[in-house]
């Protein structure tokens, strides 16, 4: 009955029942999502996906953030979900390494723009869509993720369907069928990490979830117990699971509040190491460095052990590169993961000075960096909670700076400021179109 209980919980939760702290965190999440989506809007993989519009002679309905094109609801969901994950710079539910906005926000924006829906209802759909996907993630993490599923898309598709179902005003039966249709499309392999197919995943989850809802709206039938059935989602996709996690503390505990934002444009497990290397800049200049020993949880090195990355994308999976730019440039934003930076001689040379070691007693958001100078001097920095963690969150000012850096080349500084202001006041907007039109069509500088 977990699926039905979840559906009842979702449908019975009004906007007014969502605490203001959750609404505020939803708006931060949306701002952060828009920033990373707009920033990557002209990535070559985006051009490829948008060419489908010509290939398929498909319809013009809603906007692609950061681009002038209008595309149909499903293609918009795919593209806006994909762009937001291209830089690996989007939000993270730290308990489950799930990036919640990617599968949900594109559906909320597509339906919101197409039907010009009430902004408070859009926030409600966003929040509850995130709760659905994150609670399902809680139920199957870590066995599901360890097996090799990209949890952002496998669980995200349920949240996308739920968000769409809210906006399409579903009753209980329609929502059950929508979740069934969503679950049967659940997919996405971690094997794809490091290729364009990784960011494709949250986009496809958004698209599949919206498709599920569009069909359920018409009376299309599916299983009404997709989560708990003998051959349902949990049993088939997770070696171990706890379905109680899905509905426990509904309405009193909000998973979205555990959503963290990244200061650096790479996997969250690298962030404490980067924090540490930035701090080490106080102790030496480049020419004096003999080596930097970075000590991390073993899992970190498993994910990011690439010693000689050749592309920006590979750099994001390299603790060697990430520690290097942290020390050399004092930042690890999208600029530090450009192909030309990864191949720059001073960067290549410094990477060989980075010596990662592992310590199973370290937490994943913890790192130590020990700087050894040529003269033998040593300095050690310990990061207990990386910037962007729940214990050490990014401030609104940080988030605004991140948004501006990402979006300025695409929509300009002035429009960027207006977007920040309007998203901060999202629930009182007269229409979501006020926000979207600042990020599309004539406002594109590229």
């Amino acid at each position: 009955m977990e699926t039905r209980t979840l559906v009842k919980n979702v449908l019975n939760t009004t906007y007014e029942e969502i605490p203001s702290s959750v609404v505020e965190h939803a708006k931060k999440s949306i701002q952060n999502w828009m920033g990373v989506a707009i920033g990557a809007a002209y990535h070559e993989s985006m051009d490829m996906v948008l060419e489908l519009k010509e290939d398929l002679n498909s319809g013009e309905q809603v906007s692609v953030l950061g681009r002038p094109e209008k595309v149909d609801l499903l293609l918009a969901s795919l593209t806006n979900g994909m762009s937001s994950h291209i830089f690996d710079f989007d939000d993270t539910h730290l308990d489950t390494i799930h990036h919640p906005s990617g599968p949900i926000a594109p559906v909320v924006f597509a339906l919101g723009e197409h039907y010009d829906l009430e902004p408070k209802e859009l926030i409600r759909a966003f929040v509850l869509g995130c709760e659905v996907e994150l609670r399902i993630s809680n139920a199957v993490y870590p066995s599901h993720y360890s097996l090799g599923w990209h949890i952002t898309s496998t669980a995200g598709v349920f949240g996308a369907a739920a968000a769409a179902g809210i906006l399409l005003k579903f009753d209980e039966e329609q929502m059950l069928h929508a979740l069934g249709l969503a679950g049967t499309q659940s997919s996405g392999l971690r094997e794809m990490f490091g290729t364009m197919t990784k960011p494709f995943h949250p986009g496809k989850a958004a698209q599949n979830g919206l498709l599920a809802a569009l069909l359920a709206k018409k009376g299309f039938t599916s299983s009404k117990q997709v989560l708990e059935a003998k051959r349902g989602f949990a049993s088939v996709l997770a070696p171990e699971y706890n379905l109680d996690r899905i509905n426990e503390n509904w309405g009193t505990q909000w998973e979205l509040l555990k959503n963290a934002f990244k200061p650096y444009a790479c996997g969250i497990v690298l962030h404490p190491s980067i924090d540490a290397c930035i701090k080490l800049r106080d102790y030496a200049s480049v020419k004096d460095v003999k080596e930097i020993e970075v000590t991390v949880n073993p899992y970190v090195l498993e994910l990011t052990g690439k010693p000689e990355p050749q592309t920006g994308l590979e750099g994001k999976f390299s603790i060697y590169h990430s520690a290097t730019v942290g020390f050399l440039e004092g930042d690890a934003g999208e600029d530090q993961y450009k192909d030309e930076v990864v191949l720059r001689p001073d960067v290549v040379s410094f990477r060989s000075k980075v010596k990662p070691t592992v310590d199973p007693n370290m937490q994943e958001d913890e790192a130590t960096a020990k700087l050894t100078l040529i003269n033998g001097e040593e300095h050690t920095v310990k990061i207990e909670h990386a910037t962007g963690s729940i214990e050490n969150p990014m401030t609104q000012e940080h988030l605004d700076t991140k948004f501006s850096k990402l979006t300025q080349p695409i929509i300009g500084a002035e429009n960027g400021k207006k977007v920040i202001e309007k998203v901060g006041n999202f629930e009182n907007l007269s229409s979501i179109k006020e926000v979207i039109e600042l990020c599309t069509s004539k406002n594109i500088l590229v």
Copy 2:
């Protein structure tokens, strides 16, 4: 290296290297697929999916079999793949319970019509697409299916991408990326059996496979080792697997030759029981029957143990109903699985006389039916190989009759005959459009 070897095998196999027996079986498979697709073209679920054209303002490119609409390549793949599985009357690779044509033929027809491709090349794409999906099925069956995956869609998506890649003239690298993109979309839960979402699966596999190929064509990158990687398809979706099965005996053994056609519009495991009950008609009339004891493999009853079905669809998962119509009507075609037949008083009443029992020594294509009359007389019929099995295949005449019954109400008897003739001569057609135009637009009677 299994993925790369498979890609080399596919790309290096020319039309001329495909044995004529395989080409002949491919044409039978295509004819059977067209029959079941056209027959179900006006099912209510088809109307729902085709409404997406309006919802999305999507393009008009290619045909939906049995309907006047033209839709875009992706929607055509979804609809033509779905319609062919709606009646559960499509083909079956008996070794893996995989229905091979559903995910492949829609892609071949969509691209074939859109680009007016050479019919021999279409046959090549169909055959090799089927080989890809069936060999991947062999590698993961039975553990993958037992776990709960609908193997027709999970493996089918690879075949769909491969067929599309052949028709889009891929090189080795493009084909590798296409298979990666396909594998990461692999999905479909057996939990959906008995709902509209079951036939949605092969359609979605066709659509996802085509999408994978359309993106790979543009240079979209993915894993090049999706089948064998540590977190690839086999490892994540199958508790046990044997990757050697994928490429063994390539070019000498053809999985498509093991593709069987169904005489009855329900799961293949019910066919021997229906055969047996049809034979029992020789021994008694309805009023004299006390009971019919049907003995089957335990797995059969697990899949079809519904004693009191309420809809035609549920009837297809009921050995009680299937044995009943076999005895009462001497057939179990689509007509015997209409809602009104399932609810007819004489049918409901007779169902209670059907007593299934299980015997682990019985094969899945084997059944015994023992008729006990009210006067105590007993008659037993044993079916060693059901009609439509490899050992007892449907003849071309049987297939033609099945095609005509299914399609006559939609495209008329005369066009049906022409389709049979043209598909039988597929490799020599000047264009696939000769076949398609007989099944669409002005030729629709409905």
